[in-house]
């Protein structure tokens, strides 16, 4: 159970928080409802929390944080950069607990295991971008995972042996987001320059999984649109727009 008063203690009373004990997906709720800028929808349980491609996010009651934030004012070209920037903010938020780094484009990892996932959703009506929602699932205090993901998933508790107050982490992320969003939106944040500080796999061998095919590359960074830059086996630099980095080279 999220303690709303504890959250307000950290974040102040002005933050719009929608707390739901159980919801299919906080992202779906935030997209479907008319909510103000920076409204944060948080739930104890997501019954259909989606990962990208509809993968269901492992959802343990009360142990983890599942939240979605309404983000207004972005141009559609800023969506993928915002996804990357959200990873930077989350890494900064967790810095004093563990070193969480980004596995392009939307996973946060610690020692090659997934700690958090970022999933942005938007809605378009008649070709016009109407709504942008930033969703984050963060494994905070969970103590174990099902066998099939045990090798590739972790939590703050499993990494540090310490249980954390979810309200404080959420409030801290919201504070970071609010204080830097305007700079990001107006072009004042250079995501390309910052990438080396946050990437889990810079200059490392990676495999890109796309349509069931795995291809080896060496990660070299990102470009301004958020696409991955990587050297293929022949040594030429490629821009990777779609696909995922597999977990097979992460450890």
């Amino acid at each position: 159970m999220i303690d709303v008063s504890a959250y307000s203690k950290y974040y102040g009373k002005n933050g719009n928080l929608v707390y739901l004990e159980e919801i299919d997906s906080t992202n779906a709720y935030a997209v479907a409802n008319d909510l103000e800028q920076f409204t944060c929808v948080v739930a104890d349980i997501q019954t259909a929390g989606r990962g990208r491609s509809g993968r269901v996010w492992h959802s343990e009651t009360d142990a983890n944080l599942y939240f979605s934030i309404v983000i207004d004012g972005l141009d559609s070209s800023q969506l993928l950069p915002m996804n990357i920037f959200a990873g930077y903010l989350l890494s900064d938020t967790l810095k004093h607990m563990t070193e969480a780094k980004i596995k392009w484009p939307n996973d946060m990892t610690v020692n090659g295991k997934k700690l958090a996932g970022i999933l942005m959703e938007t809605s378009f009506s008649g070709g016009v971008l109407e709504k942008v929602v930033l969703g984050i699932g963060l494994n905070v205090n969970c103590t174990s995972f099902p066998d099939e993901i045990n090798d590739i998933a972790t939590s703050l508790f499993l990494e540090t042996g310490v249980k954390y107050e979810r309200e404080q982490i959420l409030a801290s992320f919201m504070t970071n987001l609010k204080s830097s969003f305007e700079a990001f939106r107006t072009g004042g944040v250079d995501i390309v320059k910052l990438w080396p500080y946050y990437s889990a796999l810079l200059d490392k061998k990676i495999t890109i999984h796309k349509d069931g095919v795995k291809t080896e590359y060496t990660e070299k960074g990102i470009d301004g649109t958020g696409c991955l830059l990587a050297l293929d086996k022949s040594g030429s630099l490629k821009t990777i727009i779609t696909g995922d980095i597999g977990y097979d080279f992460c450890r």
Binding site: G54, S123, F124
Partner: protein, 155 residues
């Protein structure tokens, strides 16, 4: 205009009673609005690739969203077209029921499908109350910008 000047301008306008502000020269055009129904700030140098509206375009607030995408495609007549390049998904997740079926009557704002582009899940909503005549997009198959994904009949 550099970022700092722009920030100063935004700050100044935020504090003032000005509701809308527009400025244009050879290189850039800036439009800032505090009206609730438009994007809050649109500042776009002319050389930006996403620039779509001609410099002399009327500064109607409704024109502001057009700057965010390469010209919003018109849903001409009874076609719903994809506003972006991406992969068409008929359902929220594999195995889930599709958002809509042929023959369904849908309300304005109801989700028709998801187009996944650059890792972002984009829900495409009905622009008006309509009946789904034909689902043209195929699950998991890429769609182009402006490609027809649904044929609908306005209700």
């Amino acid at each position: 205009m550099n970022i700092k000047e722009m920030k100063d301008l935004i700050k100044y306008i935020e504090k003032s009673d000005i509701k809308e502000f527009q400025y244009e020269n050879e290189q850039e055009s800036i439009y800032i609005s505090k009206m609730d129904d438009v994007q809050q700030v649109v500042a776009q140098p002319q050389y930006a690739p996403m620039q779509s509206a001609p410099a002399h375009a009327p500064a109607a607030p409704a024109a502001a969203p057009a700057a965010e995408a390469p010209a919003a495609p018109k849903a001409s007549g009874n076609e719903v077209v994809s506003p972006i390049v991406g992969t068409f998904y008929a359902a929220a997740s594999p195995g889930a029921a599709p958002f809509v079926k042929e023959g369904d009557a849908v309300k304005k704002g109801q989700t028709l499908c998801i187009v996944e582009a650059m890792k972002i899940m984009n829900e495409i909503e009905a622009e008006y109350d309509c009946k789904i005549v034909k689902i043209v997009g195929q699950n998991g198959v890429p769609v182009e910008f402006g490609e027809t994904i649904f044929v609908v009949e306005p209700l």
